[in-house]
Subunit: 205 residues, 2 copies
DNA sequence: GAAGCTAATTCAAGTGACTTGACAAGAAAT
DNA sequence: ATTTCTTGTCAAGTCACTTGAATTAGCTTC
C-alpha cells in the first residue's frame, strides 16, 4: 500500500480525505513557489512528470510515499511539516533555530540565499515575513517588483541594498522601508553570512 | 505628437526615457494585477489589443495619450499617479542609533519602555514598525487590541509575551505572529534591556 | 501464482496568459 | 510628396500549468 490515505473509507470520510489531500498539495505548491521552481524544474529534480505534480498539488491524487519523500527532499522540508495541523491559537511563537529553512533556487531567486520562514503559511495572513540569510558573496536575482510595502532590519553582516536607482550600504542594526513598486535587490558585501529580517505586505505570489 | 516622451533627445537622456517608460509600464501592470484583470480583459475594456498592453507594460512602446487615458480610466486611477515620483528615494534607510526615540508615557503605555521608530510617521504607509526597548523590569500597560496582524522578533534580552490566554517566554532570536485582535502585552523578565523588532499593520486595514 | 482492481504515473495534447515579430496606418520631418 | 518616425493590430510562438487516455505498479483474492 503506497498511498498516504486509504480509500476504503466511505461516506463521511471521503470529504475529509479530500481536504487533507488538498492541504498537502497546497503546501507542496507553496514550498515549490517559494523556492522559485517551476513544475518542470521540480519534476526534473524529483524525477517524475510535471503532470503528476500538477495533480498532487491540486489534490487530484495522493503521491506514493517514495514519491512524497523525494519531493520534500528536493524542497528541503520534511514530511511531517506537510501534515502539521494548522496553527490556530498555537503557532504564535517560533523559536530561533526551529523555523523552517528554505533554500532558494539560485537561478531564479538568487545565489546563496536561504529563507527562514517566520510566518507559516496559512491563508489569511496580512503579512509575509522571512529572515533572509545570504552567504558571503551571495546576491538576489534580478529585481523584483510587486505591490505593497517592505520593511527590514539587518540582523548581522553587511549588504548593499539597491532600491530604485540608489544603492545603500547597510550594516547590522540598520533598517529600511520602501514601496515594493521600486525594483530592489541586494548583495552580501561582507566576509560572513548576512541576515535580514524582512517583512512585507500582501503575499502576492 | 501623441507620445508621452519625445525622442528628439539624444545621448544621456535616452536611458532615463527608457526607465521612465518602464516605470509607467510597471505601474500600469501593477494596477491591472491588483484589480485581478488579465491582459485580455483589460484590452477588451480599454478597446485595444493585448499585444499593445504587453508592450506598454514592458516599456517597449509608450502609449498615446488617448490610449493612456482610456487605460487609467478603466483602471480607476489617474494619469498623474502614473508619473508621480515615488516619495521614497529619500528616507529609505535608517541607521542604527539614528532613529527617533520615543519614551512612552509610563502611565498610559507602559513602564520603562521606549520606542525606536523604524518607519517614520507619514500617511500612506501600509506598515507600522518600531523597536520596543524595555528596561529591566519594564512592562507594557494594559492589553491592547486592534484589527490587523502583528509580527515581531526579539533582538536581545528575555521577555514574557502574553497573547490571549497564553504566556510565552521569549529569548533573543525568537519570533512571534498573531492577530492583533487578541489582547497582548509583555514584560521584561531579564536583568538587562530587551529589544523587540515589532511590525504591525495599521488599524486602517 | 495468476487474475483482477484500484490508484499512481506517464505521455501527449490542450489551455490561458502573456510575448514577439512582421506588417499597416498615421503623424512628423525633410 | 516622400521618407521616417511610432503607435497599433494580427497571427504565431512560448511558457507554465492542466486534463485525459493509456500504462504500470501494488496490492487483494481466488
Amino acid at each position: 500500500m503506497n498511498k498516504i490515505d486509504t480509500h476504503n473509507s466511505k461516506g463521511g470520510d471521503e470529504r475529509s480525505t479530500a481536504t487533507s489531500l488538498l492541504r498537502l498539495g497546497t503546501r507542496l505548491k507553496l514550498s515549490r513557489q517559494t523556492r522559485g521552481l517551476t513544475l518542470k524544474a521540480l519534476a526534473a529534480a524529483a524525477n517524475c512528470s510535471e503532470s503528476l505534480l500538477s495533480k498532487v498539488e491540486n489534490g487530484k491524487i495522493s503521491p506514493s510515499l517514495p514519491m512524497l519523500h523525494r519531493l520534500v527532499e528536493v524542497l528541503g522540508t520534511n514530511i511531517g511539516w506537510m501534515f502539521e495541523e494548522s496553527d490556530g491559537e498555537e503557532g504564535i511563537v517560533f523559536r530561533a533555530g526551529a523555523r523552517p529553512l528554505i533554500a532558494l533556487d539560485p537561478l531564479r531567486r538568487g545565489e546563496g540565499i536561504s529563507l527562514e520562514r517566520v510566518i507559516p503559511y496559512s491563508p489569511g495572513h496580512l503579512l509575509q515575513c522571512n529572515i533572509h540569510h545570504i552567504e558571503a558573496g551571495g546576491e538576489s536575482a534580478g529585481p523584483i517588483q510587486h505591490a505593497g510595502e517592505e520593511v527590514g532590519y539587518l540582523l548581522e553582516g553587511a549588504i548593499d541594498l539597491m532600491v530604485g536607482e540608489k544603492t545603500f550600504r547597510l550594516t547590522a542594526g540598520d533598517s529600511f522601508v520602501f514601496n515594493s513598486e521600486l525594483p530592489h535587490w541586494y548583495r552580501n558585501v561582507g566576509d560572513e553570512r548576512a541576515s535580514i529580517f524582512w517583512v512585507n505586505t500582501p503575499a502576492t505570489f
